[in-house]
Assembly symmetry: C2
Homo-oligomer: 162 residues x 2
């Protein structure tokens, strides 16, 4: 279960960035239509979590059609696979957790050659989902370091839940 | 917020059925490919909810392409619109809620003529997502009654969250 929590350590590293920089680490853009991509899983980081301050929210993970078959096998992923975490606020009422506004979009793009230094993956996080607000400037340090333990799943924490 | 909780009262009505009947109320089948349909929203009904015994779980709502534009307008929905609630177990670890196995699929299908007696919607719930385990035998009583208050949204509780 601890491993599951680590799933979003990439986001943790990203969210602790306080500045909205003009020098993103790459040319990754927020993908279009990701809410129609395969729904991989959902996770909520709640107030009781030590990660809440940086990671709190409702995380919905999607993968594009390029990576869907690989997800079901547990990787490895072909080039042009894209994962998106659609991170939203949530509220709690009468014991139910309800989705709120978007906090941001975390994106992983596979290109074995281009991103060879970070396991073949490019990483970016867009505050509020805004293409003008990328916050990752050093993907190796802010993102990839936390994915290294998942090398046997091609550095992807998410697994297929039928 | 109370209204949001009512969103799943249809499922409540369904889940309190204890028998897996051989006489479903309609010919609705679990749709294929719904995890690639537009992701409408997520809700978790947790242990603290008075609805937990019957409704507990992680609810991911999807709508097919026929109904997507109508969702964004708040209805009404054209015939052949389908909503699916993909209901899963969840576990909690260190304050994070993690998705588990499927508990069931709740399905709403729009056909104004065929389902005129229930607001133009057909309703079904499949235990475990199994096409052989429909549990709704009286959609008017088990499902539609709880949707009547949402007549101004074409009897749909879910709303579009950008």
């Amino acid at each position: 279960m601890r491993q599951k929590v680590q799933l979003f350590s990439v986001t943790l590293a990203v969210l602790v960035m306080t500045s909205v920089t003009a020098e993103p680490a790459d040319d990754i853009k927020p993908p279009m239509g990701y809410r129609n991509w395969f729904h991989v899983n959902t996770m909520i980081v709640d107030k009781a979590s030590p990660l809440f301050d940086t990671l709190g929210g409702m995380h919905n993970v999607h993968v594009n059609s390029v990576g869907e078959a690989a997800l079901k096998k547990g990787g490895p992923y072909p080039d042009r696979t894209v994962f998106v975490t659609d991170l939203h606020e949530f509220s709690v009422s009468d014991g139910s957790f309800v989705m709120g506004n978007r906090k941001g979009l975390a994106v992983m793009v596979k290109d074995a050659k281009k991103y060879a230094a970070t396991g073949g993956w490019g990483f970016q996080f867009f505050a509020g989902g805004d293409p003008k607000k990328p916050v990752v400037t050093d993907a190796a340090k802010q993102c990839f370091e936390c994915h290294v333990p998942k090398k046997d799943q091609d550095y992807v924490y998410s697994t297929y839940i039928p």
